[in-house]
């Protein structure tokens, strides 16, 4: 009951946040000198009548406040509007969201499944050879810019021919068997996942190590050792549960970044995800599409934090009071 009330309260807090985010972004986009019809205007075979028709269709002939009102009205009714090329925004986002989710889940899964154990190992074996090696690898991972690393891997793919050059599926994808489809996708995913994995594992591993070291240094761990508990039990039953708390908050933020966090990598690998869609939409000032993605981003951030808070409620008894 208390939990439910807490969740409801959090959800109500979201509404003013969304209003503020939408107002700021709408006006910034609209006041920038980007004209969604610029390309049409420079096409000699497009007549004045077509341009006027497009202006009316996109509502560009109305004052900016009215435009915002129209947008907000339809957003509340659940209608995300149409893009500047006349397609439904909801359809466009749906087309891409699934691809981005696949990529994001692969990356998150991989980083957490390897990052946490590696963090624990380097904390437990502090200052050993393996700790040093992990530290060097983490520094390399943090230092390499994702954009540059992605390009290097692409060149690698072209030179060796071991991996496809960007994309998510081969051109004959729809003719493949189910197993063929899965391996084809996996084959395409290796490189982008490698880039994002390298970037995010470094941070996670270091964070886990630092937390773990803190906890291992605490009194209750010393007490447990003194009590003669096995090292295994100390680490996994007592230390880990406490060390992982800050990482759960991190997970909340990671959830928000799921749909939009990898735009640069997506762009280099020509990955058909949301990040690339939004990047292109911003360039063209495709207002409905940009607004929809910003709203999704904000909502995801809020939901992510909410989930993290709830998880914390479960793992950390101190917060429950």
């Amino acid at each position: 009951m208390k939990l439910l009330k807490y969740i409801l309260k959090r959800i109500f807090q979201v509404i003013p946040l969304l209003v503020i985010v939408s107002v700021i972004s709408f006006f910034i986009i609209r006041l920038s000198p980007v004209d969604p019809l610029a390309e049409l205007k420079l096409n000699p075979s497009i007549s004045q009548e077509v341009l006027q028709k497009e202006t009316r269709r996109l509502g560009l002939d109305k004052p900016i406040i009215v435009q915002y009102g129209l947008w907000a009205g339809s957003f509340i009714r659940g209608d995300l509007g149409i893009t500047s090329s006349g397609e439904k925004v909801s359809v466009k986002i749906k087309e891409r969201a699934f691809n981005t989710l696949i990529l994001a889940f692969c990356v998150v899964f991989m980083t957490w499944i390897t990052g946490i154990p590696l963090g624990i190992i380097s904390a437990v074996k502090q200052n050993s050879a393996i700790d040093r090696l992990l530290m060097v690898l983490a520094s390399v991972g943090m230092a390499v810019p994702s954009f540059f690393f992605a390009i290097l891997l692409l060149i690698f793919a072209v030179k060796t021919g071991w991996f496809p050059v960007g994309g998510l599926t081969s051109h004959n994808f729809s003719d493949l068997s189910l197993w063929g489809k899965i391996t084809d996708m996996a084959h395409h995913l290796v490189l982008p996942v490698t880039v994002l994995f390298t970037i995010s594992i470094a941070g996670l591993q270091r964070q886990m190590r630092a937390n773990m070291l803190d906890v291992l240094d605490s009194d209750y761990v010393k007490f447990a050792r003194a009590k003669g508990l096995s090292e295994f039990k100390i680490i996994f039953k007592h230390a880990l549960r406490n060390a992982i708390n800050p990482l759960i908050t991190l997970l909340g933020f990671e959830f928000a970044g799921l749909l939009s966090g990898a735009a640069l990598t997506e762009y280099v690998f020509q990955y058909p995800g949301l990040g690339r869609l939004i990047l292109e939409a911003v360039m063209k000032s495709d207002i409905n599409l940009v607004m929809a993605s910003l709203m999704i981003g904000s909502i995801m951030l809020v939901i992510g934090n909410l989930i993290a808070d709830i998880l914390l409620l479960i793992t950390d008894p101190r917060i429950r009071t």
């Binding site: 390309e39 420079l42 000699p44 497009i46 007549s47 341009l51 090329s85 690698f156 051109h171 020509q270």
Partner: protein, 615 residues
């Protein structure tokens, strides 16, 4: 000790990684010179397809050599991919291209001569202002429904003349405020009646024909026309007439077409075309990615630019692709001069009156023209893959005025033009007009277009030789367009426009004094031009009269004159045309590249050779 070992280990890692990425430099001897670019390949074009009637069905028979069935061709589109599959609502090049693959028009363009040749239509006859068009008997849409006069009537009367979708074709055909009328004579014959002679008309009939039974299956189809055949339409339900029909569209990844079993073109052995089983377009974000995909073997054909041409030409002999020269680009690049002398709503001049005097002085414009070193631009910016341009029509236009030979840079002549108008250089070499004002103005182009930026830098240097002070200001594309079409507050601008090598009248928005893209002297939309310059008047008349001349030779005289006017008056100073170079895998047969239509326009005739033939 341990530390040093780690250090060496890491250095080794970095070295190995770096080594795998470094590629050996291309030797100097492989550099592509401009001489190579101009050498035309000898291509043995087959005869134009002809009509043949078998069992009461009027087929079109391709005269190209017979090939093998099967295989696929993988091409690419740069950008976001098609926005619609409806050829009547498409406003961008990619969507139009996709539409034209699925839908044939009544006529098409002969790739060699540029003449209009029948496609869906069997033949045509012109009687005065009447165009009588006979359709083929017995040909079918991809779902088996016959293609008849009803479909033609529907396309022109209910879509085009009714003003649905992209109305550019309709707007072009409004002659003296009237539209042509279309009537049905029988199930396979229709008649267009024009209010008066209008030369560009026949070429407009290359517009695709829509299947009436498919487009009108929903009762309020005309209200939802803009969203009809959107990219979310199920591919299997789309009814089409072209050589290929849609198989699948995957957003941001690819468009796949499969052969249309009912296509009405046959080969010399009387088997149905097309040969290819599938036609794939991969959607790639930019040119670099396209190159990588071609290198990786995922693409069969690619358009090459600047430096990459040299790279590919060098490797051509040892590779599995062949490079074709498709001739000059159909677009034009120019430096426009703002000759606007009007005031805006607040009573302020769009262009500073001091500058107005310069820009409206023909001698000043001529000086800019003669000071411009086009050859240098071709060599340095286009890397030799280009030809200097002096005419308003592109170099492969069938209406190109070949008498306008152009000129090379002549700084003395340019200075003498300036002297004629009283310009003088002071002791510091800075140019002043006869009232003593320093000649200083801004040069704009769209930021991010590296080619145009480089051209601007060279143009600036050329003009500084004359003592002009040029401030080069690259602007974001949208702001630039706003300057051109709205605020008119610019001086000199390097821009490009797409053009049609077949129909000068499609440039009317640029050349009519009230045109919406009359860049050099733009007037606000909807206002009559009361202050036309003399040459603007003549241009207006030329475009009016030339559009009424149906005879090609007669018509060309007028368009020759219009190019001559632009050449003499120089409101736009044309710079150069890049040459289009394409590479395609050798395994494809029946390639007849043409400067007018490109490389894969005859997609129904292209086939995959057997492996022995490739070698």
């Amino acid at each position: 000790m341990k530390r040093i070992l780690y250090f060496i280990f890491i250095l080794l890692l970095i070295f190995i990684f770096g080594k795998s990425c470094i590629k050996a430099d291309i030797p100097e001897s492989n550099t592509f010179s401009s001489a190579n670019a101009e050498a035309e390949q000898e291509i043995d074009y087959p005869k134009s397809p002809r009509n043949i009637t078998i069992n009461n069905i009027d087929y079109l028979q391709s005269q190209a050599p017979c090939g093998n069935y099967g295989g696929e061709l993988i091409s690419s589109i740069i950008g976001e991919g098609p926005k619609t599959f409806n050829p009547f609502t498409a406003t961008d090049a990619t969507s139009s291209e996709m539409g034209s693959i699925m839908y044939d028009g009544l006529f098409t363009t002969n790739a060699v001569t540029g003449n209009i040749v029948p496609k869906l239509a069997k033949s045509y006859e012109i009687k005065g202002n009447d165009y009588i068009i006979t359709l083929r008997h017995g040909i079918k849409w991809s779902d088996g429904v016959p293609i008849t006069a009803e479909d033609v009537l529907f396309t022109w009367n209910d879509i085009v003349f009714a003003g649905l979708g992209n109305t550019s074709v309709r707007d072009m055909l409004i002659i003296n405020g009237k539209l042509p009328t279309l009537t049905k004579l029988d199930d396979y014959t229709v008649k267009f009646t024009l209010p008066t002679q209008f030369a560009p008309f026949l070429r407009q009939l290359t517009l695709p024909i829509a299947p009436k039974h498919y487009f009108t299956q929903k009762p309020d189809w005309d209200k939802n026309f803009d969203t009809f055949l959107s990219t979310t339409t199920k591919p299997e339900e789309i009814v089409s007439s072209g050589a290929f029909r849609l198989k699948e569209y995957v957003a941001a990844q690819r468009v796949v077409f499969k052969k249309n079993p009912n296509y009405y073109e046959i080969n010399l052995k009387r088997q149905r075309l097309p040969y290819l089983e599938k036609l794939v377009f991969l959607i790639v974000g930019d040119f670099n990615n396209e190159i990588l995909k071609f290198e990786g073997g995922e693409l069969d054909v690619i358009g090459l630019k600047g430096g990459t041409v040299a790279l590919y030409k060098g490797k051509e002999a040892k590779s599995d692709y062949k490079i074709y020269n498709l001739g000059p680009d159909t677009g034009t690049m120019f430096a426009a001069i703002n000759m606007n002398t009007r005031k805006n709503k607040d009573g302020k001049f769009y262009v500073d009156p001091v500058k107005q005097r310069w820009f409206n002085d023909r001698n000043f414009r001529a000086a800019i023209d003669y000071a411009t070193d086009r050859n240098n631009m071709v060599i340095n910016v286009a890397q030799g893959i280009g030809i200097p341009l002096f005419t308003a029509e592109s170099l492969n236009s069938i209406y190109l005025n070949k008498n306008l030979k152009g000129h090379s840079k002549d700084i003395n002549l340019a200075e003498s033009y300036l002297k004629k108008s009283g310009f003088y250089k002071d002791s510091n070499g800075i140019l002043h007009d006869k009232y003593g004002n320093t000649v200083e103005f801004n040069l704009y182009t769209n930021a991010g277009n590296t080619e145009r930026e480089a051209v601007c830098v060279m143009l600036k240097q050329d003009l500084e030789e004359l003592g002009m002070k040029v401030n080069f200001k690259p602007l974001e594309f949208n702001s630039l367009v706003n300057k051109l079409t709205n605020s008119y507050d610019w001086d000199l601008m390097v821009m490009g426009l797409t053009g049609s090598p077949l129909e000068p009248h499609s440039g009317k928005n640029v050349w009519y004094s009230t045109g919406s893209l009359h860049l050099f002297n733009q007037r606000p939309a909807g206002k009559p031009a009361t202050d036309k310059l003399n040459f603007e008047k003549e241009l207006d008349d030329i475009f009016d009269i030339a559009s009424l001349k149906v005879n090609f030779a007669e018509r060309k005289k007028y368009y020759d004159r219009y190019q001559e006017i632009i050449y003499n008056e120089k409101p736009l100073i044309y710079l150069y045309s890049p040459i289009r170079i394409s590479a395609i895998r050798r395994k494809f047969g029946n390639l007849f590249p043409s400067s007018l239509m490109g490389l894969t326009y005859n997609i129904e005739e292209i086939f995959v050779k057997n492996t022995e033939e490739t070698k």
